[in-house]
Point group: C2
Chain length 110, copies 2
């Protein structure tokens, strides 16, 4: 069970073209800083706040922007915990991204 962050899974819109959905996740992952953030959150599956800023050679406000992009893609989410904000990766969404990618190649015979 997760800590106090990682609340309700965000709604997965069923009306979206899978290619568009895949593109949205891919776009969110399309910057090295965001990949690093996601990795960081996955490695401690516990949630983390501005500790992420300390890990990256970027201004804190820039990291906050990257977090927002990831949040809006659904790949991570955060919950307020006092003064801090507790972020974590959304495993379901990441699995979905993997599934969409696998779906692309499912036509190819091995």
């Amino acid at each position: 069970m997760s800590p106090k962050c990682c609340p309700a899974p965000p709604p997965i819109d069923p009306n979206v073209d899978p290619d568009e959905e895949l593109a949205r996740y891919a776009k969110a992952l399309g910057h090295p800083a965001r990949v690093k953030i996601l990795r960081f959150l996955l490695e401690r599956e516990d949630c983390m706040a501005g500790a992420i800023s300390g890990e990256l050679p970027l201004a804190q406000s820039t990291v906050s922007q990257h977090l927002k992009v990831l949040r809006e893609s659904g790949l991570i989410h955060g919950e307020v915990d006092g003064t801090r904000i507790c972020y974590c990766a959304d495993a379901d969404r990441i699995e979905r991204l993997q599934g969409l990618l696998d779906g692309l190649t499912s036509f190819v015979q091995a």
Copy 2:
């Protein structure tokens, strides 16, 4: 064996940070048109040229630009075949993308 396109696999630079490499592939896939192009090329594993343009509601020059982005990411490549150009998806690169993504989550216990 592949048709007359799909030549030598492009060099995979070993000195690249995996997070940067993943971000590069993800960025290339970060537009719906490019996902559709890749799907198109995967579904007919045979190579295709400007037939792709006909599949998308975009100007031919725009599709050509998207093809260039995919080409530069290594996810597809093309080879001249007379007047036309024969494109195809690079299965190795796509597998590599899947592997990099899996690597991200390999810390998470199921």
